[in-house]
Amino acid sequence: MQRLLLLFFIVLAVLLPVLAQATGMEYYIGVLTRILIFAIVASSLNFILGYGGMVSFGHAVFFGLGAYVTAIASFHGVTSAWIIWLVAALVSALAGLMIGAIALRTRAVYFIMITMALAQLFYYFFVGFRYYGGDDGIQINGRPVIGLGLDISGDNGFYWLVLAWLLVVHVLLARLLKSRFGLALNAMRENERRAQAIGYPTLRYKLAAFVIAAVIAGIAGSLIGMSNLFASPKLLHWSQSGILLVMVALGGVGYFYGGILGAAVFLLLEEILSTHFEYWQIYVGLILLLVVMVAPRGVSSLMTIGKSLKQGEQHGA
């Protein structure tokens, strides 16, 4: 039953741009693409937050780095998307290793504040880097190509590319969470000291998870660069990291589809509110405050209330 439902959603997602075109709502293909890209980053954050227990307030760094890799590559005439993804993955892995190695030495509130501060370090790096646009950001001259006879220059082609990445990332995450590594990570979140006592090198495991999440976010960042044809330091700002956390929280921390749901809920909310109100963030804030105080485990928790009552407390924040 669940597999059928999943299959239905995947087919629906594949057909959406065609449906949008048939009904004259081409505009929404762009919105959907944005949702899928943010779903990828949000899921990567959910991976370390919901399963690894790391409240990272600097996840937008990797997202921004990916976008900058795309921009800088295009600036120097690189047009192959494959090379961009490879470099984006390497750069964000390196940054993840650096930030993780420093931040994971600390815990709890320190971890939150330090990831935030380290993210600002990268933000100011790009603000000051005048050669690549500095404060103003940098334009990307045209979308890279992937070859293989596939065309991603149009809206539909690009949407399907992003959808493919979303599926790849989620298959990977699902396998990872079921593996020994994923189970150990879960154990560490629930009781780090005990996991340590059993003999797990908890720091190394958490660092590995942190780097994996960074790489996924970097790939998503390269996609947002290719989508917007623009990269700016704003992508790395701590408030952007805050928004990613908000997405995960809205969707449901530690629920497998929490990232996707959260990105969809947040961006649709933004889409609707910003067309009706000039100062729409105030409403986003109020809704978020309400969700946090009433349903702190997000939309997913509302949907599975019956189930989780039966199974007891399985998913923790």
Binding site: V55, A108, L121, G242, Y279, Q281, I282, L288, V292, P296
Partner: protein
Amino acid sequence: MANLIFEQVLNSLQFGVMLFLIASGLTLIFGVMNFVNLAHGSFFMIGAYLAAYIAGATGSFWLGLLGALPATAAIGFLLEWLVFRRLYKKDHMVHVLATFALILIFNDGVRMIWGPQPLPLNMPAAFAGPVMLFGLPYSSFRLLVMAVGILVAIGLYLLINRTRLGMWVRAGSNNLEMVTAMGINIRLLFRLVFSFGLVLAALAGIMLGPLVAVQAGMGDDVLILAFVVVVIGGIGSVPGAAVGALIVGVVDTLGRGLLPQLFALFLSADAAASVGPALGSMMIYLVMIAVLFWRPSGLFPARS
């Protein structure tokens, strides 16, 4: 050059003193209530806005200052009662999300009330001109800012170390359950500490208002600086916040002000203009990393 260095050193001290006002409240709120308040920077902004509004209506900076402080305290009191007190027992992730929501609400709230343009806040006429210090001219208002900050710091020291309220606060950050068991009204204590911390942030916003632009989001980057201060000093420690604030104030101001000039001495003008400002803004984070490397819980760890 001597003139420039003199001015930069004074500016850095003045900035450090203001950072202390913001960070001390943040660290107290964390120390006593174990609460992570991202909206702390918003009160820096709210204070500045209220003062600018009142000063604009009455034409007096002083009335703005006098009116904005109790108004901020009242908002803090109300907010503690409405939101924060329901969150103390929840985990830090919930604190982060709820207070992030408040940032969104406040930033758009002030835009809604006062419009997207920055609000003017003029310094008082008596302090508009420069004074001569050791034969060099320096802004008398900046000197006033420094004086206010130092006076508040001394007052805070006396309040925490010499009064009954301060004793409760110290005891509260040490062992909250014991304080409750002793029959202290913990709810009132929390509300007072909260409002007090927010008023300190607002005071910093009001004093810095004439020097920076009073606009939505002005507290967002200050918040991160305050976090760096708190992390360097040790979370929950007020003396740590003082030392951390001075370090960050000095490193940040000197880094931004002098580093580009220093690079210009041995790099091409073009390269210096590109590398200098970037590295200048990154300096404090590098200092923070260095401190954490040798002292993972800050310079003055408040509790083990």
